[in-house]
């Protein structure tokens, strides 16, 4: 009677679920196989009675060894510590499972399993895990209930001297029959209340407060981005592996029409413009053959509230509008991805970010933003304006001592131009500077753009257009220019904050790694191997022009002519020409297109780059071009970038994602790590409006539109949509969403209250007006109806009471107290029906016969009827003398039995 047989199977199932959930979260199938095998073996041993508990000392030794091993893993492994601790918990569970002796061990097993699931919950946002977790919680409630019953009954057995009496089979049957039903009811109640409470806490518990109070639980980001990296190096050639881990979900609207996945989109992350080559001097801690970003960081924007938006720059007039809604999973990187030419951003998580106008990159600053999923909306134009980068790393005024004089001259010139043009562009003067080729030759506009003073102006453009960057002057162009100037002098975002908004202080400047930087350091150019410069000059690479003359040669001739003319025209202006890049020529885009075509057609795309011997001691880019002839996207993009830069054409490698996996169910692109990509941006456009033009030289990655919609793909999309919904609505539920929800509720309640008050306030006036007559009639009708209903209710009550009274008299209950009489009359209605039924057929019960004697006297009836009457009489006795009560279901059954008797007996005499 006191044996809770359901406990052990439920416990094993709970352990199985816990370990499965953890293995799913950590993606360790090996752990799952071992642990589940251990559990299954233990269950089999216990079931067959062959189980012998492990000696205590052996369990202790195993635990200590496991503890030391796990400690070593925590200190030296790259895996998240909480997952390693979870591994330890799995091991502890197995040890406990094979050591189980008493209830204490079961309790420890349950707690260990719960902790394991908590560890897993911290580490994953998977829908499958979420569903498993919910099932686990319900099962754990059931197991806890059973466990409590087990413990209590065993304690009672010890504490209370129970007799050595075997319980009757009826009692055992009752327990076996009703216990599962009772447990299900209670589990349901507990689950309902607990889930409601969980939902309330989930929705309304204050978020954000106390975050990272005890430090981050995950010391490293949960998802290391193996596909995307902020730096590109070629030292570890076998690093690139296919990784299908989810990165983001992207919804895109083109001119307010949602994209239906007919085209691929490129999500830009960062641009890398400097290649270290074989330089091993270790400056700025760069490794050889590494691509790095050598651009100013840009101003910092603060998002004080979740859902606040910021204008990054004025969108160009007449261009397309690409609106993107992106849910970015934790990538371990601070980069926000988006299409080129962003002008507006709306962040759904408070924090701060840095926007660089040079490469349109956006990077968040808060650690919490990096470690948790982040939602943001971006509006882009798809066009990236070319903004020349100042060639100096240091503060410009220290090097250019004649800046004030030049500024004065420039201001006079601008004023003269305005007077001539009759228009005032004062507010946006710095922003229009790169395009203000002025009276110079159109082809030299780009060159002028590379001049230092123009570069300052260009750098000011994003800051001036951004509205209110931190420390910036906002509308004040001069202040913005000063801010931009200080931006030019510092490349690290944090250092910008340290230095404040002014650029006139004498505090030391620091380079991008925080080391003191010599003022006026020149921005280094990429270290390009001469073989690359020689390679690009081949006609089959860069193409030929009219008459078979290589385009490179034509370009050189054009530049020579323009340089002479420019120096002659600006001899007295003390300008400094940036010798890193040449001005824009009409041949640039053609050369870039030819290089792209050459790489696409001649080289092979592969991820298998383990053939390290062939490129050892050699520049990987050179090896790629001359020997390997194969590689992945970074090789293609790097080679093309270097080829362009060797021709002194501004070019940079862009790293991001190329999205072509469109989910038709959810209407969004699914971005995976395997879609990480690198491509090239080179200067193009016109001299009046130079732009960054994108080139994708990687072979085999041409735009093929959407992927084929197979059945498997559709299923995958449905699952992905569910997972996305789970992640967006449950996992990513944060302070902003909560505040919005609370605000919405408050608004609705307030509006409801106001509306109700208004409606109530209107009621008297409505009654006073001409509606009074109608309303009085209506009221009279309602009152009459109410009166009728009341009379009807009283009449029905009286009739019902009279009917019960009569029934009680017929059955023979008239001597009982009133309350008991009425109760029994309600319960014994079936017996009254039976008597009436028999009476109509001439079988009235004589008063001297008890009900049982009366039923015995009906032996002449058909056997089926007789037995039914006997059974009904027995039920009558149980209710009348045994205080049993009928449930509605039982009443239905009894009515059904009486109907059967009636059908068997046939029509009555009276009928």
């Amino acid at each position: 009677m006191y044996d809770i047989r359901q406990f052990k199977p439920a416990l094993y199932l709970l352990l199985f679920l816990g370990i499965s959930g953890f293995a799913l979260a950590a993606q360790w199938p090996g752990v799952w196989v071992l642990a589940v095998g251990g559990i299954a073996l233990n269950a089999w041993l216990v079931k067959t009675g062959r189980f012998t508990p492990m000696p205590r000392f052996l369990a202790n030794i195993v635990t200590i060894i496991a503890f030391i091993y796990i400690g070593d893993l925590v200190l030296h492994s790259v895996t998240t510590p909480i997952l390693i601790i979870g591994q330890f918990l799995v091991l502890l569970q197995l040890v406990k499972l094979y050591e189980q002796r008493a209830n204490r061990d079961y309790a420890q097993l349950i707690i260990l399993s719960l902790l394991l699931m908590v560890a897993a919950a911290i580490n994953t946002a998977s829908l499958a895990f979420g569903l498993m977790f919910i099932a686990y919680l319900f099962l754990s409630l059931y197991v806890c209930l059973l466990f409590h019953l087990k413990v209590e009954s065993e304690d009672a057995r010890k504490a209370i001297s129970l007799p050595e009496i075997e319980p009757s089979p009826n009692m055992l049957r009752q327990d076996q029959r009703h216990l599962p039903k009772s447990m299900r009811r209670l589990t349901g109640l507990i689950s309902l209340v607990a889930v409601c409470m969980a939902v309330v806490v989930f929705l309304f518990f204050p978020r954000g407060t106390g975050a990272n109070l005890l430090g981050p639980l995950q010391f490293r980001p949960s998802r290391a981005l193996t596909g995307f990296s902020e730096q590109v190096g070629f030292q570890s050639v076998a690093r690139i592996t296919q990784n299908n881990e989810l990165v983001a979900h992207v919804q895109v609207w083109h001119n307010d029409k949602p994209l239906n996945g007919t085209q691929s989109i490129y999500l830009r992350g960062l641009t890398l413009d400097h290649y270290n080559g074989g330089n091993t001097d270790g400056r700025w801690r760069r490794a050889p053959y590494q691509w790095t970003r050598m651009l100013p960081q840009g101003p910092e924007y603060e998002v004080a509230r979740d859902g606040d938006d910021r204008i990054l720059r004025d969108p160009p007039f007449g261009t397309d509008v690409w609106r993107q809604r992106i849910t970015l999973q934790p990538t371990g990187s601070s980069v926000l991805f988006g299409m080129g030419g962003p002008s507006y951003i709306k962040l759904f998580r408070r924090g701060s970010f840095v926007f660089s106008g040079y490469d349109d990159s956006i990077q968040v600053r808060e650690p919490a933003q990096v470690q948790q999923p982040i939602d943001y909306e971006l509006v882009s134009s798809g066009q990236m304006r070319y903004a020349a980068v100042p060639p100096e790393l240091g503060f410009p005024r220290m090097r250019y001592f004649r800046r004030e004089q030049r500024e004065r001259e420039e201001a006079e010139r601008v004023a003269a131009e305005r007077a001539a043009a009759g228009q005032d562009r004062n507010a946006n003067a710095p922003a229009s500077a790169p395009a203000a080729g002025g009276g110079l030759h159109p082809a030299v506009g780009g060159m002028v753009g590379t001049l230092v003073d123009r570069a300052i102006g260009a750098a000011t453009a994003p800051a001036a257009a951004s509205g209110a960057p931190r420390g910036g002057g906002g509308d004040d162009a001069g202040q913005a220019q000063r801010n931009a100037s200080s931006d030019d002098g510092e490349l690290g975002g944090r250092r910008r904050r340290d230095w404040g908004g002014g650029g006139d202080d004498d505090r030391p400047r620091r380079d991008i790694d925080g080391a003191p930087s010599p003022q006026g350091w020149r921005r280094p150019s990429s270290n390009i191997d001469p073989q690359i410069a020689e390679y690009v000059r081949r006609p089959e690479v860069s193409g030929t022009g009219d008459g078979g003359v290589p385009l490179v040669t034509l370009r050189d001739r054009f530049l020579e002519r323009e340089r002479d003319r420019l120096l002659k025209a600006d001899r007295d202006r003390n300008v400094i020409i940036d010798d890193r890049f040449d001005p824009l020529t009409p041949y640039d885009e053609a050369i870039c297109a030819n290089i792209q075509a050459h790489l696409r057609s001649t080289f092979t795309y592969t991820l298998d780059l383990t053939d390290a011997k062939r490129i050892e001691g050699q520049d990987p880019m050179v090896a790629f071009l001359h020997d390997l002839k194969r590689g992945h996207c970074e090789y293609f993009a790097g080679a093309m970038t270097l080829m362009c830069q060797s021709l002194k054409m501004p070019a940079r490698m862009v790293i991001g994602f190329r999205c072509d996996d469109f989910n038709n169910v959810g209407g969004y692109y699914r971005v995976e790590q395997s879609q990480a990509h690198a491509w090239v941006e080179a200067r193009g456009g016109t001299t009046a409006e130079p732009l960054w033009v994108s080139y994708d030289p990687t072979s085999g990655r041409e735009d093929t539109g959407v992927r084929t919609q197979s059945v498997w793909n559709r299923i995958r999309h449905v699952m992905d949509y569910l997972e996305h919904s789970w992640a967006a609505n449950v996992i990513a539920y944060d302070r902003g969403t909560r505040d919005n929800l609370v605000q919405t509720l408050e608004n609705r309640l307030t509006s409801t209250a106001v509306t109700s008050t208004q409606q109530i306030g209107k009621l008297p006036s409505w009654l006073r007006t001409e509606n009074w007559a109608i309303s009085s009639q209506l009221l009279s009708g309602l009152v009459a109806l109410a009166m009728l209903a009341l009379v009807g209710a009283i009449g029905w009550f009286a009739w019902e009471r009279w009917r019960l009274w009569r029934r009680a008299t017929r059955i023979g209950l008239e001597n009982l107290p009133t309350e008991e009489r009425l109760r029994l009359a309600r319960q014994l209605g079936f017996y009254d029906d039976l008597l009436t039924l028999l009476e109509r057929r001439g079988m009235a019960r004589p008063l001297h016969l008890t009900p049982m004697e009366f039923s015995d006297s009906l032996a002449f009836l058909p056997a089926e009827v007789y037995h039914s009457v006997r059974r009904l009489t027995e039920v009558f006795y149980r209710i009348r003398y045994g205080r049993q009560q009928l449930s509605p279901g039982q009443r239905e059954k009894l009515d059904h039995s009486i109907a059967q008797i009636e059908s068997l007996l046939g029509p009555s005499r009276t009928a």
């Binding site: 209590e152 009672a156 209370i160 007799p163 009496i165 507990i190 607990a194 106390g210």
Partner: protein
């Protein structure tokens, strides 16, 4: 947490330990759970992980629903005791508890029962545990108890407690259900020689000349009188004599015993030992009555009770046995009527032909004329005397067999002082 509370008895050493739980209490498990809940909340706030917030809310909900369910479990749960027909001191007996769950939908699980009243009658407080009673069903749970004291015991208040569903919160309620339980004195083994001794001393039955009355055997004839049963007319003799004569029948009577139970104790001599002797005497009387009835003897009883002398005429049968034992079970403390009073009272009964058996807690020297005249059998309840004929189970402790209200005051400090004062006041008795 269990809290022990002893019912104030006269002798704490013999008191039954009582377990009574507070109406609402937190268990250690509950405190651990609350700590874990706080830890979970802290982890959720620290990590801002949404699932952990959900788990935190779930744990709060479980705690709340735990308090609610523990209340629901005890609501509309009624108890009915099925007491044993025969409960004897020192012999384990079974009390059956019927837990009636009158709730329409919700079951009751894991409910502990503890008797609060009448527990002094048993060596341990009667407790029971009900695992499960489904909605609108009755769960029957037998519990073994060991009666400790003879007498009529009232079982009224009882406590139902539960820590269901998770053991965080312990809730208890007290209810009342009045039942009376009569515990008979201890029954031991009687030496058959003692019964033979009683038979040989009997002045009635087979060894006596037959007396008129009864329907068993022919006794004689007598003249028929009007109004007598005509069936008894001896027609042959009447025809021969010409006078209506009727047959007289006689009855073959078994030996008749009248047990005289001496319960007298002088107030100044009250002590545990003297009370134990009296209790042993009562147990001897019960044993003798029980065994003699089983052997077919008619047994009567004479003893002093609250209503004066109680005389049960010698008779046979199970019902008579129960009556005798019930009288013995309820014998009060007798400080008035001495042994001589008992013998004087018994004389009228002995004249009817029954053999008196005096059971007394002390050594009594009777005069020879008394013994010869009445055939009195005397059995002393002193340990050395009783061991000759009576053997009781080791689970019977006569120093704690008496009803609680008869127990001598020796427990508390005040009681000891009173005892000492009485001893000084009666130096002769001391």
């Amino acid at each position: 947490m269990l809290r022990n509370r002893a019912i104030p008895t006269r002798n704490p050493a013999t008191a039954t330990v009582m377990h009574r739980k507070p109406s609402l209490d937190f268990s250690v498990t509950g405190l651990v759970y609350c700590s874990m809940m706080m830890f979970m909340g802290l982890a959720a706030m620290n990590s801002q992980a949404s699932l952990l917030f959900g788990v935190f809310g779930l744990m709060i909900g479980i705690l709340l629903v735990s308090g609610f369910i523990s209340r629901v479990v005890l609501r509309r749960l009624h108890l009915h005791r099925v007491l044993p027909e025969l409960a004897v001191v020192g012999q384990p007996t079974t009390v059956t508890y019927e837990f009636a769950n009158d709730k329409r939908f919700w079951p009751s699980l894991s409910v502990c029962l503890a008797e609060l009243d009448g527990a002094e009658a048993f060596t341990r407080q009667p407790q029971s545990y009900m695992l499960h009673a489904a909605a609108r069903t009755v769960a029957t749970i037998p519990t073994e108890v060991m009666p400790k004291r003879r007498g009529l015991h009232e079982m009224d208040r009882y406590q139902l407690s539960t820590s269901f569903p998770f053991g965080f919160i312990k809730r208890a309620v007290e209810r009342r259900q009045k039942d009376l339980m009569l515990i008979y004195p201890a029954l031991g083994q009687l030496d058959p020689k003692f019964l033979s001794l009683c038979r040989s001393a009997d002045t009635s039955g087979a060894t006596m000349r037959p007396r008129r009355g009864g329907q068993d055997e022919f006794y004689g004839v007598k003249e028929h009188r009007n109004g007598e049963n005509p069936r008894h007319i001896y027609w042959r003799r009447s025809a021969r004599t010409g006078v209506l004569v009727a047959k007289e029948m006689t009855q073959v009577s078994p030996p008749r015993l009248l047990i005289l139970v001496d319960t007298h104790i002088a107030p100044e001599l009250r002590s545990v030992q003297t009370h134990a002797d009296i209790e042993r005497g009562i147990a001897m009387a019960a044993t003798l009555a029980s065994q003699a009835l089983e052997a077919g003897l008619s047994v009567g009883l004479l003893a002093w009770s609250d209503d004066g002398w109680t005389l049960v005429q010698p008779a046979r049968g199970k019902r008579h046995r129960r009556d005798l034992l019930a009288v013995l079970a309820r014998l009060p403390l007798n400080t008035d009527k001495t042994t001589q009073d008992l013998l004087d009272e018994s004389r009228s009964t002995v004249e009817t032909g029954a053999t008196p058996v005096l059971i007394t807690p002390r050594e009594v020297q009777l005069g020879l004329s008394d013994a010869v005249r009445s055939g009195l059998v005397v059995a002393s309840a002193r340990p050395d005397g009783s061991r000759r004929w009576f053997n009781f189970a080791p689970t019977v402790f006569f120093d704690r067999c008496m009803p609680v209200d008869q127990e001598p005051m020796i427990g508390g400090q005040g009681a000891r002082k009173r005892e000492k004062g009485k001893a000084k006041a009666t130096p002769a008795a001391a």
